[in-house]
Symmetry: C2
Subunit: 624 residues, 2 copies
């Protein structure tokens, strides 16, 4: 990996920072955030501006370029990678270290008096703008919006914004048609007396209209905004994809629908002017609802007195609670996914042990191959983490030729992977050993398993927030002085983003929404020994009502049902560290894998994988 | 309990609300918060202004009086009490119910256009002022500070502010003399480059100067403020108590100390003008450190650019970590406290069972009597919760003649009590049955016990915040659909407030400071069956380093050691619901009670109580 040479690019950027064609007044600094205009986690090539200007292409990082300096803030996952990818025009600012200045403090320390700091107002979220602007102002500087993205002006071969065909999802997948979703949204708007709602997150637009796309890798979304009024629907989307007869039919664009369901299709780029027009027509007390994570540009377009901001939109919350059709789809997707993984693990056992020719990349490709054989497979849901030995301890590892290790009988192998099927999204991690694990490896694996079970089997009252369950996953590790430095779970979309809000299981947040029946999250504790191995056991689980002996204040209780049905390698378990209850959990889980996945393997005629499944789901026996 | 007749008082208050002598301009509403000028939890009679104007004397509540209305906001603990104590001039605003308006919303709905809302700036915390002021301003009204407290102007027999003698604590109690505490504080100030610090909380002043008082019931504090500079100490305190030779000697007021330890004693009422004088002398970039919970009056006295606000002051954090002398003192206090409780429970068993003449009040008084026999006893640390049968389900119950029940062999008895000794503060809850508990009562008690043990025996990494342990206390209850609606633990002062920050164990907070060795908290899960019984098991526990098999990233681990050593009634335990580990915990705990408290009972010649202790600490035997 050699660094990108950025000397010329930085020179050009510093030039446009004072070119009147692009900036009203020269800016002494320019901020290049990570995201796109929708605050997406995964972004399209056209939005990889920070990678373009710096060479650093990790998933998180903010670049700031001044007349003299160029600095990059990123977190511990990326210190090494950023140092490798950037040339010495750049200073690496290591987030989380004590001596690292904040962006604001650094700017104040390097800027000449009364400076202007520019940023693309579509890329910076409103809350970040507010914080940054306040800090700069109190030091005598100004944060200013620069309409034209300055990176784009110097990016010669800037990729086009993708504009790929749409997929329409019928009722059998979504359970609710888009008109009923609009009705439900409008009733939430009526409840709060807010007559306008701006949809800015890509997965929220996709969910609302029962459409999917492929503009962004791994996330089946498309570039669009929407403005929903009590009687109007405006959808902002580019390209001739709206001319597709299936899409026209799905959205009933040509039919004589009631006027309140008539969709006005408008160019993607017209969102700002349309929103401004909506705001200009507001009567006093009428408000416009927008996520507090939306871009500064859109938030600012709504005069302050008319803004109605919430951390989670009603769409985000409705989307998180899966209905029966979505849940059934997720079940089907997880069965297919398990079939693919049984095939993979059976294949790995045959290949790795005698031949020793399987690398991390080969294994990842093979996993994709098996998945792609399944019905309604669309794409992977994230970059496969296929890691063996010490690579397993790098939590967000993705094998590349420079790091690619060969699987062996001497190392632990960790595979964290998932796919998008038309009926659901999967995300599963299994950790295995193809030889004989050491007592210590088994011990650590068993603690992680105990944590996984503690969450999966937890019973908790309705109204409980997921972050209150995080410690259950750590308790067995903590007892021996061990831990892992990531959260325990995240929300999972239904043929949508593999990471979604508003719920999760993590000690890091306090603002998650309570768990409710129908929500789907991951349960993925781990343990990582730097330089040696990584262990993680991840299932996607569905929140379901729990039967309990009593029912305090009639609140009702909840628990989880695993949707992921892939054997957990019993070879890695030290049975004597399990309680009888935990042992029963494993045996019941494996019994279910055998029944459900066994039947599907049988149906698909995958007999060798079926034999592997049967071997791997033999009941554990506790000696004590 | 008949309500207080407030018609005349309200009339007078509404009169002074427009009397130029007291208000610059008439105010259309006046807010009467609960607290005192130090945001104390327990307040002196002179500060019970909300109780004076309304009759409602619960520990939490805010009154707002307009020209037409009088409204009282309080929470679920006090709905009944407030309804009983207030006459029909008052509207009760039930906090936590969906339809209850916030104070701001209510004000906006009832005020004429462009109103002024008055409040005593010394009583309202700065953060509440900010929120209220913003909401009122956005509706065209103004929140204005009213210098003279309007309640005091109509309160004919307004009690004097207490000004009781001080107690000096020597090194054997405090471990660190006050000069070294000043040095440590100044080093924290130097670290942050803040040359001034304002001490506003009463327990912080007391701790800093190794002084105690009795101006407020239950909390051994005295009315005072302090301003600490890098070279100056100003102590704001009234009365001739500073003339006490012991105090003069302790503070070395007459000696030739280095100038930076010379204490300037000033009148309590001069804090504001002195703080203003300090601020007037600041050079640019010099800041003044003050708690973000301090009063609006003091916060506002510091020009915005000079304010350095933190949620927890360095004194609050230092005070929470007890040193060896304080820890030893707390141990001694808890031994004495256990002796008193062994005597009490032995006495109760003898009195309740055959005679049936012991009421909740009698039992509470007897507990105080036994405690007062112990060395260095000062007073109770809070109002004793002595409750039997259905009264036990009222979490903040305090027996009064109207509710006073007689203890019997048919009901569960819950006693939550504690004391201030010169060497430490105690707080312990035991739940017992003097007859034969039902299987259901034992079942519930055992779940609560399992939760208590889960926290007490928890091992967790250094740096863990207490709120992450809260779910451990609930897990056994949750499994059966049960729960309790309060936090699990609070910080405990060292011969100081029984409730103190910045740590605790509660699902309700996210802003607690991490637990560290030397901190002392309570562990008090419960279960409450409305109309039937209440169960709570509370120990005060000390955070100590834990030995673990491994040591992830050299972080080190922590656990708890119980300081409270009072038997947990084994009659209430369903042994078969305990794991072997839990059973061992109970037996080890009782063994320690027998050894430590037994020796002290022996030493004090309390042979009957010793026999009781020995009976009550017989080991449990698990049949399975």
């Amino acid at each position: 990996m050699s660094p990108k040479i950025t000397t010329e690019l930085l020179k050009q950027l510093r030039q446009v920072m004072k070119t009147p064609k692009y900036v009203q007044e020269p800016v002494q600094a320019y901020i290049v955030p990570s995201g796109d205009a929708h605050q997406s986690e995964y972004i399209a090539p056209c939005d990889c501006r920070r990678a373009f200007i710096s060479g650093f292409d990790g998933s998180a990082g903010t670049a700031i370029i001044t007349e003299q300096h160029a600095a990059m803030w990123t977190d511990g996952r990326y210190f090494l990678q950023a140092a490798h990818q950037m040339d010495n025009n750049w200073t690496l600012m290591k987030l989380g270290l004590k001596d690292t200045p904040t962006q604001e403090d650094w700017l104040v320390s390097v800027l000449p008096e009364g400076s202007k700091v520019g940023v693309d107002p579509f890329i910076i979220p409103a809350d970040q703008w507010k914080r940054m602007s306040k800090a700069l102002r109190s030091a005598g500087h100004d944060l200013v919006p620069v309409k034209e993205n300055l990176i784009d002006t110097i990016w010669i071969d800037h990729p086009e914004r993708p504009c790929k065909p749409l997929i329409t999802l019928d009722l059998s997948y979504t359970g609710v048609n888009w008109r009923d979703k609009i009705v439900a949204l409008r009733s939430k708007m009526a409840e709060r007396k807010v007559p306008w709602f701006v949809v800015t997150a890509l997965d929220e637009v996709a969910w609302l209209f029962n459409l999917r796309g492929s503009d962004v890798e791994y996330n089946p979304v498309f570039f669009a905004y929407a403005i929903i009024g009590m009687n109007t629907i405006r959808l902002f989307i580019d390209g001739d994809r709206m001319m597709d007869p299936a899409v026209k039919e799905h959205l009933q664009l040509d039919s004589t629908l009631e006027p309140e369901f008539k969709i006005q299709v408008m160019p993607y780029g017209s969102i700002l002017s349309e929103l401004q027009a909506v705001c200009a027509s507001l009567s006093p007390k009428e408000k416009v609802w927008i996520s507090d994570k939306a871009s500064y540009a859109l938030t600012e377009a709504i005069p302050k007195a008319y803004r109605y901001l919430t951390p989670y939109t009603p769409i985000c919350i409705a989307k998180a609670v899966k209905n029966a059709s979505e849940t059934e789809g997720m079940r089907r997707a997880h069965i297919k996914d398990a079939v693919a993984l049984c095939e993979l693990f059976n294949w790995l056992e045959k290949e790795v042990v005698p031949k020793g020719t399987v690398t991390e990349i080969v294994a990842a490709d093979k996993a994709e191959e098996f998945r792609s054989q399944q019905k309604d497979f669309v794409e992977l849901s994230f970059a496969t983490i296929s890691s063996t030995g010490p690579n397993g301890a790098i939590i967000h590892y993705k094998p590349v030729p420079e790091t690619n290790r060969t699987l062996s009988v001497n190392e632990i192998y960790l595979l964290d992977s998932g796919a998008q099927y038309k009926d659901g999204t999967t995300d599963v991690t299994r950790t295995m050993h193809f030889g004989t694990p050491s007592a210590y490896e088994k011990e650590c694996f068993t603690y992680v398993l105990k944590g996984h079970i503690a969450v999966s089997a937890a019973i908790f009252p309705n109204g409980t927030k997921g972050h209150l369950l995080d410690s259950f996953a750590r308790s067995a590790l903590w007892d021996c002085g061990l831990d892992y430095l990531h959260g325990t779970g995240h929300g999972v979309g239904s043929f949508l983003n593999v990471h979604e809000g508003p719920c999760g299981i993590s000690y890091k947040t306090f603002a998650d929404e309570p768990l409710e029946a129908g929500m789907i999250v991951s349960d993925e504790p781990g343990y990582y020994e730097d330089g040696s191995f990584g262990i993680r056991i991840e299932n996607v689980v569905l929140v379901i009502p729990a039967e309990t002996k009593y029912n305090f204040k009639n609140r009702g209780s909840l628990t989880f049902e695993p949707l992921t049905l892939v054997p957990i390698q019993t070879k890695m378990i030290d049975v004597n560290l399990l309680t009888q209850k935990e042992c029963n959990w494993v045996n019941d889980y494996h019994q279910k894998c055998r029944e459900v996945i066994g039947a599907e393997l049988e149906r698909q005629g995958r007999h060798e994988a079926l034999q592997w499944l049967i071997r791997e789901t033999e009941p554990l026996i506790r000696v004590q």
